[in-house]
């Protein structure tokens, strides 16, 4: 099992934290991981993204050029990175902020109203957690929601620890949203 994941959004949406949390959860399950954020020039203009690899084997390159899983938090990221997604790949996108329906037919597309769901639970700041929950629901081989929750304390900074109750709810809500959709 090797999953190359690319998470993209704008600064403050928590794309890089989301990647780190997936890494910690997969580590918790004994898997190999790597995480590398965008830095410098890529960050100017507000974009924030990260490459994550989760694998049972050694990880050759931490850089994900062609992801198996693409998670986009905003419109700009979706249009910029969708062509990189491998055929048969999985796109999870934040349909609260992205109103363009992706046209590629060779991929699995899952829309999650991440901001709206998070807002309903208390704060749209947890939209990234909703999307992690969705990824964990769709691809439990990467990491389970339970593992993600067990590692929350390590990834979230001390000043935000009181948000972890909300984060937990958001993670479960994300998983629930995609599993309900799958049943339909």
């Amino acid at each position: 099992m090797t999953e190359r994941i690319f998470i993209a959004g704008f600064g403050g949406q928590g794309a890089i934290l989301a990647g780190k949390l997936i890494c910690l959860a997969a580590m918790h399950e004994g898997k190999n991981i790597s995480h590398i954020p965008s830095y410098g020039v890529e960050m100017r203009g507000g974009a924030a993204n990260c490459s994550v690899v989760v694998s049972d084997e050694d990880i050759p390159s931490p850089l994900v050029f062609k992801p198996d899983v693409l998670v986009t938090l905003n419109e700009q990221s979706l249009s910029k990175f969708i062509d990189r997604l491998r055929p048969d790949g999985l796109l999870v996108y934040n349909s609260s902020l992205i109103h363009t329906t992706p046209s590629r037919k060779d991929i699995t597309v899952v829309a999650v109203d991440a901001n709206d769901i998070a807002e309903g639970l208390g704060s749209s700041r947890a939209a990234n957690m909703v999307l992690i929950g969705a990824v964990a629901g769709l691809k439990p081989e990467i990491a389970s929601v339970e593992s993600v929750i067990s590692e929350l304390g390590k990834a979230v900074s001390t000043r935000n620890l009181e948000l972890n109750e909300l984060n937990k709810k958001a993670l479960f809500a994300g998983k629930e949203a995609v599993l309900t959709k799958a049943k339909k």
Binding site: H28, G30, S34, H35, I36, Y39, V41, E57, I59, L63
Partner: protein, 351 residues
């Protein structure tokens, strides 16, 4: 359940230096290694150490020289253009036979270049970037764990041989986070009392200098001593790794980040029925020439993979005496070769 930490490569270098007993860090910021000075700025006061953000790279390397002369374990870090600025100081450190650890998280060049990870400073690091007949021990880590382990080892090597040791990484492995177990201190101690500048009251003065004018053969004597030291380092300290080389038809060679790609390509090629193996120099100087010659014997072809124009090929050809055809896959200017490109290239060898 994992007991490992998840840390960023650059930060790990900072923590590993502290574990090794480094209490003096002097640097000047440059992307993509800024997490090292940032980490040191936060941690050094906690462990009673010294952090100085100098006014320039030149100032920082000369602060390193001063601290090393006083017998301290000392480190500086920078990225390619900043390392170029430090070359005069590195030559002086080498002439003064002072131990120091220098980290270069390479970025795209030449010139100011860009801030993406690259490997274009191989020549500068291994052939002597400054003036005169000197060498650095150059360690090229490929994982965050190795960045920790080799940083600790670098301080011992520097003290053991009174020489400069360079950790040669790139912007990508510096920015990358991976699981690691922090190393323990090695516990080795080195007596510096015979040469360090600690105050001469009650003893003969010690002199640390790189200007040797009289008698006229004084400088040659230093050079002969340095060359003997470099021979000893070459005899004792070569590090390398191999992966499935014994039965391989094709030998893939890369250092640092590219060794990860080479190893990954071997796995893919083996599944396709092609016998590929990997040879990876860990010490770029001293280069594992005899070890490579042995691993390469009988192979049909060698493929060197680098994030530069092929700088290591010269050392590969010197090692194997040009006895086997050497091919090259590389990207420059901060670009990284893709695994598929390497696999496809090897597949052309059987067509």
């Amino acid at each position: 359940m994992s007991d490992k930490l998840l840390m960023k490569g650059n930060e790990v270098i900072g923590e590993a230096a502290i574990i090794a007993g480094c209490r003096h860090y002097f640097g000047y910021p440059i992307t993509p290694q800024n997490e090292i000075p940032a980490y040191m700025a936060a941690r050094m006061p906690e462990v009673g150490g010294v952090f100085v953000q100098a006014e320039s790279e030149v100032a920082a390397i000369n602060m390193v020289l001063g601290a090393a002369a006083a017998g301290a374990r000392v480190m500086t870090s920078s990225s390619s253009p900043g390392i170029s600025l430090k070359q005069e100081g590195i030559s002086y450190l080498s002439a003064c036979e002072l131990p120091a650890v220098i980290v270069n998280m390479m970025r795209g060049g030449p010139g100011l270049g860009n801030i993406a990870g690259a490997q274009g400073d191989y020549f500068q690091a291994t052939k002597g970037g400054g003036h005169g007949d000197y060498r650095l021990i150059v360690l090229a880590p490929a994982t965050v764990q190795e960045m920790a382990d080799y940083t600790v080892q670098a301080f011992d090597l520097a003290d053991k041989y009174r020489t400069v040791v360079m950790i040669l990484g790139d912007g990508h492995i510096g920015q990358m986070s991976e699981p690691l177990v922090l190393p323990k201190p090695t516990g080795k101690t080195f007596d510096k009392s015979a040469w360090s500048l600690t105050g001469a009251k009650g003893r003969d003065q010690h002199i640390v200098r790189s200007l040797l004018l009289y008698p006229e053969d004084e400088l040659e004597k230093l050079n002969i001593r340095l060359q003997e030291k470099y021979k000893l380092i070459t005899k004792n300290e070569i590090l390398y790794k191999t992966y499935m080389t014994d039965d391989a038809d094709y030998l893939l060679i890369g250092f640092g980040m590219c060794s990860r790609l080479a190893r990954g390509a071997c796995d893919v090629l083996r599944k396709k029925g092609l016998k590929a193996g990997m040879f990876r120099p860990v010490t770029l100087w001293p280069f594992p020439s005899a070890e490579l010659a042995k691993a390469a014997a009988g192979k049909k072809k060698i493929l060197v993979i680098e994030m530069n124009a092929g700088q290591m090929i010269e050392d590969v050809n010197l090692a194997i005496g040009c006895s086997i055809p050497v091919d090259f896959v590389g990207r420059m200017g901060g670009m990284v070769p893709e695994l598929e490109t390497i696999v496809e290239r090897v597949e052309t060898y059987v067509k």
